[in-house]
Symmetry: C2
Subunit: 555 residues, 2 copies
């Protein structure tokens, strides 16, 4: 119980934060020396560099059946040459099956203590994870630190908290005492929260820890064992997390196979074989819609997906159009539009956007938007760091294709120089005007730095299109700018019906892309963009089953 005692304040605070939904963070997001230590950054970078070109030997998974790794740095355009132990699906599932019967018997307090301890260990490696994230995902340094480090750890703690609470929502024992008139029937009842079994968490290439730790910790806290199947292009960040979990498990005399890493390579992916294995009962997935929908249809499994979506911005009216253009320019530029929350479709009425300084026409806004993007990407102190790089070459092709779309190209994509990495793969945002009738063009996710400006008859049509896109193709975020309370409520209501959260009138240093742990539900689960939500009760309750036994009280 000592790890539980060590962390019980943190765990209980996290449960409270989940319900208050005011600002809360257990892990400081600023990579400040004052917080993390004077040498933390340099140490982390050195540790990362020392990992390159070698076997990753930290895992406690015995007798590897092979070694493989194909990660490449989008900054260096070079392979990392790290190799990871590989195992057959048979070995992984057999080890998981054995570990399950140990882990499921560990009580919820001990589990919570062990898992929270592992986050502390992860914290000690945030900088190393940040460099690993940069050189696999292409994120800028700040995002790589925050998203893969403190923000991921906070989301993991959120999942621990949600599971910890749900597992205790019903009593373990009660006496049921039914008056029957002349006598009572008394039963001793007990309830067990029974984990489902083996959980497979399938990672993505852009957010290898943030999008995986929720499933990992959500499954572990509820007593399941986890096989982590990272994207072959982004293994190292989550491998470090798994290694730390395994160390804490081993220190507590538990089988490290309670949480295994299952690295694979592009030409020999084991994802389908893992997912279809009959002992695998839970699957978490972040990635494309085709594979996500295939997983969701697998019978007899609880599947949690974050797939693609088409995120909209509705522009109706504003006090200060320049602040709006600046905010949205940042939103499309941040990590080159490779966030699931990045805006893609911008709906602007043909009559223009009403502002306190008069109406801003469609063309005026388009130009302002393009100008703001240019100003940002051409600012050598900001542009390269906000943009990061393009993770996958295919995204560059998509950007090139976007410039050939039928409609005026307001801004062409180009490269800018990264002062540190001369070979970095960079594409600045492309901005294209698309006719409102061309749903075949804007009615799908164009992943990457691609912004489509869509001229609508009026704001009602803008709302209708944003709603239709979310309903038919999914949406994870939505931006809206309006000074009219009635229009605001209409947007709030109509987008609610398609389960899309709306960020209203964001200006300054907060962006629609950002979802905060303990406050913003990430993905709602209510539209085709995914069936899971970080972290609502369903996200953890589907991972276990309440089973009640009963027996007469002895006379």
């Amino acid at each position: 119980m000592s790890l539980y005692k060590k962390h019980d304040t943190t765990i209980n605070k996290a449960v409270q934060a989940l319900h208050e939904r005011t600002f809360y963070a257990a892990f400081p997001e600023h990579p400040a020396p004052a917080v993390y230590g004077e040498t933390a950054d340099a140490d982390g970078q050195n540790k990362f560099k020392a990992t390159l070109g070698k076997k990753f030997e930290e895992l406690k998974q015995a007798s590897p059946e092979g070694w493989a790794g194909e990660e490449e740095s989008p900054y260096l355009q070079e392979p990392l040459k790290i190799s990871y132990p590989t195992f057959s699906v048979k070995t992984l599932t057999e080890r998981a099956g054995r570990a399950f019967h140990q882990w499921r018997k560990v009580n919820v307090h001990e589990r919570a203590g062990i898992l929270t301890e592992s986050l502390d260990r992860m914290k000690a490696r945030f900088f190393e994870i940040a460099y690993a994230t940069m050189h696999t995902t292409g994120q800028g340094y700040m995002m790589a630190f925050q998203a893969s480090g403190p923000h991921a750890a906070d989301r993991a703690l959120e999942a621990i908290a949600a599971g910890y609470e749900e597992l205790q929502r019903f009593p373990t024992h009660a006496v049921w005492d039914k008056p029957m008139g002349k006598f009572n029937i008394q039963l001793n009842k007990e309830w067990r929260a029974v984990p489902k079994g083996i959980s497979v968490v399938i990672g993505c290439s852009t957010f290898p820890t943030w999008n995986s730790v929720t499933g990992i910790y959500g499954s572990l806290i509820t007593g399941n064992v986890v096989i982590v199947k990272p994207h072959p292009g982004a293994i190292l960040p989550i491998a470090i997390v798994v290694a730390e979990i395994q160390k804490v498990l081993a220190e507590n005399n538990l089988d490290p196979n309670i949480c295994q890493l299952a690295a694979d390579t592009f030409d020999r992916m084991i994802t389908k074989e893992l997912a279809e294995h009959p002992d695998v009962k839970l699957i978490d997935f972040t990635g494309n819609s085709v594979f996500g929908s295939y997983l969701e249809a697998l019978p007899g499994k609880a599947v949690f997906t974050e797939k693609t979506g088409v995120n909209s911005v509705i522009l109706d009216s504003t006090e200060d159009i320049d602040k709006v253009a600046a905010n949205l320019a940042f939103a499309v530029t941040l990590y080159s539009g490779q966030m699931c929350t990045a805006p893609q479709n911008f709906y602007i009425p043909e009559g223009g956007i009403k502002t306190s300084a008069g109406t801003v026409t469609f063309d005026q806004f388009a130009q302002k938007f393009a100008d703001n993007i240019n100003a940002l990407v051409d600012n050598p102190k900001a542009g390269p760091f906000v943009l990061g790089t393009i993770q996958n070459k295919k995204t560059c092709d998509r950007v090139t294709e976007a410039e050939k779309l039928p409609g005026k190209v307001w801004l062409k994509s180009r490269s800018v120089e990264n002062p540190t990495f001369k070979n970095a793969r960079i594409s600045t945002p492309v901005v294209v005007e698309v006719d409102a009738s061309k749903k075949d063009v804007f009615g799908k996710e164009l992943f990457g730095p691609i912004a489509l400006l869509i001229k609508t008859r009026n704001t009602d049509q803008s709302i209708q299109l944003a709603q239709e896109m979310a309903r038919d193709h999914g949406a994870i975020s939505c931006g809206a700018y309006t000074t009219d309370p009635q229009v605001r409520e209409k947007i709030a209501d109509e987008m609610s019906l398609v389960a899309t959260p709306v960020s209203f009138n964001l200006v300054g240093g907060i962006y629609m892309n950002q979802h905060a742990a303990f406050s913003d539900f990430h993905v709602t689960g209510g539209n085709p963009a995914g069936n899971a939500s970080f972290t609502n009760p369903e996200y953890v309750t589907k991972r276990f089953t309440w089973v009640g036994h009963r027996e007469p009280v002895k006379a």
Copy 2:
């Protein structure tokens, strides 16, 4: 708010009861004149009789497109000749679609008040519903009163309570105040629990209210509109409930189409058309596994099923074998085994059952069991009332087939006389010995009064078979008799892993068939017998989506 104020004590008590899980009932289960009034029974019977042969005109669904009804009394072997208004799927879904936008805007307190009020109205008709249930399902009077009346109303209240609680688990508003060092970012956040849309509740022929009200009230409390599609053979009991819901809605100036009845006939079933309609987002179903699995696989819908299962009894050791035999004889005889919780497979070690009076052999127990069934069914003051009648002729065929199974027939099925209803369709339980190797025989549900005695090598094999049956074919209940704490824990653990609740050592007036509202989770959702559980949090949380909007706090 007046109906909420009227019922808030009941609602809050119900929420508390859900979590305490000690005995709680809001509706008295005994049909006593002292509770329900001296003339309540006779009045109910008269009202039921007055309904026969007529149009059921209580519903507030305008402009019926037809009238139809094909119910038959298993007691009288005669049609009830009641006709119900019928509507096309197009009409039903269009009306539901319109009503949705009214109902979803009613706040949770008002919804809870209105729904709880409708249960009070239902209470005033418990006796009428009891006779309607007898003459559609064939249940005995006492079960018909309890299961379709107070027990159903308690399960409905449980669903209201669960929804009421979940809808308030997160705040409607919060200020998110993030310290950024030199300044704070402040956002006003709001969260809406957004209902999914149209809910279809598909009833069964044996428990037309009990198995439907949970879905109806679970969907309504969470803001969805409901189309109730009863089994064509058992419409009247739930039609009365729907009529009462509609009356309370109308009294509160709400559209009665918030809860519609969609009666159909055997030759023109509208179930598939309803279920597949794109606007239908929620489906509740009780019935056979083939149709249930078809529904579960429909994409884009949340589906709640209670399907078939194979319920086991594990006999290891006991203090008093006669009490055990009597209890189990009652369990198989009650409503002629037509309960989803009735036992089917009885596993008895070839070495016999250990008792305080020495070992009871397999054959000795089989004989005791048959003798106890005979004594019960031949007792004119008990037998006919416990048995009720057989709802569906096909069940009688199944009983006949069971007597031809390869194995010793320990007890043949026969009829006994019902003192009131000379034509009642009665089949007493058949008891057949089946070899433990014959999984093709006992590895499926044989719905009806069919008990299979399976000789195992030992209790370990009994447990293994019970577990395998539950894992592969589903199970809703399990009985076990053992005086050995280690064996008890092994059974509790192994059956937990296949999500099956175990009733240990039940003797006297409590049976494994009985699941109590506010205490026993009915169906766990964790094995093939169904994916829903009355009433765990998932049962209501899947019916709505949390959506959060946010906007900067004005300076």
